[in-house]
């Protein structure tokens, strides 16, 4: 969510609201909701730099060519004399930290709201709910450097967490504060908790849970200390550039911090920019338009790139300091396309001549479904995800039903392994409607074969009426299979679904392709079905193979 007046003040030039609204979708910000001052945007996941108003204003500024040297603005002005000393105790808990100093920021209520929003969005996405990376921002003037990053037994940790009235120890913070309850799982199992403190033992924060009340940032704060701790060195450094750029947009001056690991010093924020060579021919090949060198340079500058050199067949550019998504030249070529405007491309149909073809299984499905409709059956279409209680045909082994590990509800916890159950459920839900009811479904079930769940296509049909006979289902089945040039026979069998003595395997060319029978009254009673039901279920993959052999053999 961004605030339009705040966005305008960040753009630093008189730009109309209409222009802003028009540009947003073409720079990866789609508008979800538009209010008087507030606009809710959806930003694509690859662009964390657009997660707050600062980055969005920056992109608009670049796009409109406002401001000079957009590149160098975001490069640190130098290295501060503030050091962060990393104790090796953090190795097993949360090994990496990256920091920055930002001086002379001008914070408003809205600015703080945007920075917090950026921080939270980064936590939830790239930070994998703070486990992978978490960010802390503090009032530098309330901190006495150097700053120590270490891991301490929770009982030895004592400070007043943000928005709490009293000092608490590490255990209480995890168990009793709201942030502790939300993110405590990340460190709860560790003997020591990560801690950031200054030279006077004043606590800055207990990452990734909560900051201290004492170092809280307010609208009066001028100078900031920023840290990101986490499990992946690369990700924390990327995210730091994003936060740093946003604070620079709020008037801040960016300085590096020396982070001392055991025997190794790093000055962060690191330079994560990439130097990329853009071959003009490749631009033409990918985008299908031939662009002049000048045009490409102009388009890239509008996307915040720094041009390093131009030559006959390629240019070399440097990516913006806060862009974490660029892996290689195609990512830059996309920016050329975005800058060019997607809707300015000519629409062309591919000059590739091919002959269209339906999958054999689709063709067969159509044939069978048409025959079933011709036999007077209504087609139904049910979910593959089912409740395990609705699958009344029990598989041979419990493990033969494929179970979802993270179902959204018990109604959708397993993958169906037969269609008959679905048909019976359908009949139950419609028992009050006029009879006869003749229904069928043609679709996939999941069965486990050699340890792997695979799709198997089935056809199931059911007839329910005041009175129905085995023959009603049998004649429909015979009529169907004979229309496919197959000759079925029935072999008596036993099944808990069907009545004893009124249940049979369907045999075609010595192959058992399904079952047919009269549903037993016990099953009907269990389902509270009052009308008798006859039904059959076929393995359509098997039937297709037999049909195919028959057709091939006779042609």
């Amino acid at each position: 969510m961004v605030n339009i007046p705040d966005l305008m003040s960040l753009i630093k030039r008189n730009v109309s609201r209409e222009t802003i609204i028009e540009i947003l979708p073409s720079i990866k910000c789609s508008i979800e909701e538009e209010g008087d001052d507030e606009v809710v945007l959806e930003v694509t996941a690859d662009r964390p730099d657009l997660f707050s108003a600062e980055g969005i204003a920056r992109a608009i500024r670049n796009y409109l060519g406002i401001g000079r040297d957009p590149y160098r603005t975001y490069v640190p002005l130098g290295t501060s004399n503030i050091n962060v000393i990393v104790n090796e105790s953090v190795k097993d808990v949360r090994p990496f930290i990256a920091c920055a100093i930002v001086r002379d920021v001008k914070l408003t209520e809205e600015a703080i709201r945007q920075i917090v929003q950026l921080q939270e969005k980064l936590h939830m996405s790239y930070g994998l709910r703070r486990r992978m990376a978490s960010i802390g921002i503090y009032d530098l003037d309330k901190v006495k450097p150097p700053i120590y990053y270490e891991a301490r037994p929770p009982s030895e940790i004592k400070f007043k967490p943000l928005d709490e009235d009293e000092a608490m120890d590490g255990y209480s913070i995890v168990r009793e504060t709201s942030k502790g309850r939300e993110y405590g799982w990340i460190i709860e199992g560790c003997k020591r908790y990560p801690l950031l403190r200054d030279s006077t033992n004043g606590v800055l924060s207990m990452p990734p849970i909560v900051n201290s009340e004492d170092t809280k940032v307010t609208v009066n704060t001028k100078n900031l200390f920023v840290d990101i701790t986490g499990l992946n060195d690369r990700i924390i450094n990327q995210l730091l550039t994003v936060i740093a750029a946003a604070l620079v947009d709020r008037g801040g001056k960016l300085y590096k911090v020396k982070v001392s690991y055991d025997g190794r010093d790093v000055a962060t924020p690191l330079d994560i920019t990439k130097v990329v060579r853009i071959d003009y021919k490749k631009v033409a090949n990918v985008l299908g338009v031939r662009l002049e060198t000048e045009k490409i340079s102009e388009l890239l500058i509008r996307m915040g790139y720094d041009l390093l050199s131009l030559s006959q067949d390629a240019l070399v550019c440097r990516t913006p300091p806060y862009r974490v998504d660029i892996i290689n030249d195609v990512d830059v070529i996309e920016d050329v396309a975005i800058s060019y405007g997607y809707n300015n491309f000519e629409l062309e149909y591919p000059p590739v001549l091919t002959i269209g073809k339906l999958h054999e299984k689709t063709k067969f499905a159509k044939k069978v479904r048409e025959l079933m409709v011709g036999l007077g059956f209504q087609e139904i279409y049910t979910y593959v995800l089912s409740s395990s209680s609705s699958l009344i045909i029990k598989p041979a082994h419990r493990s033969d039903v494929v179970k979802v590990g993270n179902p959204v509800s018990s109604e959708y916890e397993v993958l169906r392994n037969n269609l008959s159950s679905k048909l019976l459920l359908f009949l139950t839900l419609n028992k009050h409607l006029e009879h006869p009811q003749r229904i069928f479904e043609y679709g996939d079930v999941i069965v486990v074969e050699k340890g792997r769940p695979i799709n198997q296509t089935r056809l199931a049909a059911a007839i329910s009426n005041y009175e129905v006979s085995f023959e009603d289902a049998q004649s429909a089945l015979y009529s169907l299979l004979r229309s496919l040039k197959l000759e079925p026979t029935l072999e008596p069998c036993d099944s808990e679904l069907y009545l004893k003595g009124r249940c049979a395997y369907i045999i075609v060319s010595n192959k058992n392709v399904g079952t047919l029978g009269e549903v037993s009254p016990e099953v009907l009673e269990r389902l509270k079905l009052e009308y008798p039901v006859v039904m059959f279920e076929l393995n359509a993959d098997d039937v297709y193979e037999l049909y195919n052999m028959e057709v091939t053999f006779n042609s």
């Binding site: 990866k28 087609e379 993958l415 006029e434």
Partner: protein, 496 residues
């Protein structure tokens, strides 16, 4: 309706009435035909409607003894008993003594004294504060007694047949509560002149022809009964294809016409095909539990791809995303969350250009289940790969598909998919609903194509089909695409 067109049963009834002399009680008519009275009711009404018979209802009155009447029939009426008692007391006696001797109950006292006095049989004198009865007339039996006894014997006596005198006595007995009058209705049927003629001439009528009647020619002996053609028939329902599946078939036809070949793939995928082969990092948020379904059992399996390819995919991940790629994650099963998994399988299988395929099938993603969201929905995924293919062809292809689906306007914005670059989102304009986001597309990234040794460009696009289906079928609830209601499918679901 002509009188000649009678069913056989009706004609038989008419002839029976004629045989009974043209007039009969309905009960007698039924008895003579050996059936229950209720069975002749409907055909009689039909005969009556056609003017072949008349039916009268006759009311009959019968006298019946009341409880008290029965007692009096045996022991005499109260005034008779009073007189007898007086006679024994030599014609005179104290009132209460006499009543007691006459065995007259309290409730009868008034009637006994009243009627005896009215008939001039007794006198009541007052003497020294006592009431004295005195016999002044003489009678052995009152006339009512005889009739009462007769009714009692018969059980019922029809009143209308009696002489007026007797009728008067009966009225008196009724008013004294010794007799009750009961009513009975009886129907009498009488044949009309038209009925007599019809019974002589008519042929029986038929409701249904059958093969025997036609073969034998016997149908000529029947009149064929006309139907009320305006009446509603019983309802029957045709077998129909599911409207949503018909829509999906139409989409397939459209792709077929554009020269695409159809491919299919499994619902349960390896994470490898669903994510890794598509350059989706193993720590990518889309691979978290909120965005794809994992299996509890079986959890993982042997990836159906050659080792060399898997190795190349691993290298691309480690180089491009900078993390340690884990085979055990790629081996896990997941419910296919994008049909692009089928497209990448296709490329792995075919590799040689030109490639132009599509897959229209189900995908699964965790979500709330309500009118707008489903956890099981359809995607239409397509790819075109060849040396000459570029971004403009991608946009051009999407525009044609949109147009064939009935959307004249299409608009593109930049998008993001881990496996394409440049990436596009497509919006189509609906006259009522405005711009609808329904397309995602792009050129496969080099990180996706390199492991396959593909050195030409491949455009890929995916369409969320359910939203379009709802628009085309006029549905407001996404769950209706998988409706469990037979009446919706039988009725005009989606106007089909």
């Amino acid at each position: 309706m002509s009188a000649l067109e009678l069913r056989e049963s009706e004609l038989r009834l008419l002839r029976q009435i004629a045989q009974l002399g043209g007039r009969a009680l309905v009960s007698d008519l039924a008895k003579s035909m050996g059936v229950d009275e209720s069975a002749v009711h409907t055909p009689l009404m039909l005969l009556k409607q056609r003017g072949l018979v008349t039916v009268h209802e006759r009311r009959r009155e019968f006298a019946r003894c009341s409880e008290e009447g029965m007692m009096c029939a045996h022991h005499g009426l109260p005034e008779e008993r009073l007189l007898q008692a007086l006679e024994i007391s030599k014609g005179k006696g104290e009132l209460y003594e006499i009543l007691k001797r006459a065995d007259i109950k309290d409730e009868e006292t008034e009637a006994a004294l009243g009627w005896a006095r009215r008939r001039g049989l007794i006198n009541i004198l007052a003497k020294n504060g006592e009431k004295i009865l005195e016999k002044v007339g003489d009678i052995r039996e009152v006339p009512e007694r005889k009739i009462l006894q007769e009714v009692c014997e018969k059980g019922l006596m029809e009143i209308s047949d009696l002489q007026d005198e007797v009728k008067r006595v009966i009225e008196v007995l009724r008013s004294r509560g010794l007799l009750e009058v009961v009513e009975k209705y009886e129907r009498v049927v009488e044949i009309t002149q038209a009925g007599i003629e019809t019974s002589k001439k008519a042929k029986p009528a038929l409701t249904k022809l059958n093969a025997d009647l036609i073969k034998s020619g016997a149908w000529r002996g029947y009149a064929i009964q006309p139907y009320d053609v305006k009446a509603n028939p019983p309802r029957i329902y045709p077998g129909k294809k599911h409207p949503y599946l018909e829509f999906l078939d139409e989409l397939r036809e459209l792709l077929l016409a554009m020269g695409f070949e159809e491919e299919v793939g499994p619902f349960v995928e390896f994470e490898f095909w669903n994510f890794d082969a598509l350059f989706q990092a193993q720590n990518h948020p889309a691979r978290e539990v909120h965005d794809s379904f994992y299996l509890e059992s079986p959890r993982e399996g042997e990836i159906d791809a050659d080792e060399e390819y898997i190795e190349c995919v691993k290298k691309e991940h480690e180089h491009g995303w900078g993390y340690k790629w884990d085979l055990s994650i790629a081996r896990r099963f997941v419910l296919r969350s994008q049909t692009t998994a089928v497209s990448i399988r296709t490329l792995h299988k075919r590799r040689r250009p030109p490639i132009k395929t599509f897959c229209l099938s189900k995908v699964f993603r965790p979500d709330v289940v309500d009118a707008k969201h489903s956890i099981e929905f359809h995607q239409l995924d397509g790819i075109i790969g060849d040396y000459c293919i570029n971004f403009k062809h991608l946009l051009g292809t999407l525009a044609i598909i949109a147009k064939k689906l009935g959307f004249e306007e299409i608009r593109f914005t930049p998008g993001y998919f881990p496996f394409t670059e440049p990436s596009v989102e497509g919006f189509v304009k609906h006259p009522r609903l405005g711009w609808i986001e329904c397309l995602g597309a792009g050129l496969f990234r080099p990180e996706v194509l390199r492991p396959l040794n593909i050195d030409y460009q491949v455009i890929a696009w995916g369409i969320g089909v359910d939203r379009l289906a709802m628009i085309k079928l006029g549905l407001n609830d996404i769950r209706d695409l998988h409706t469990m209601r037979l009446d919706k499918l039988r009725g005009n679901y989606g106007g089909r």
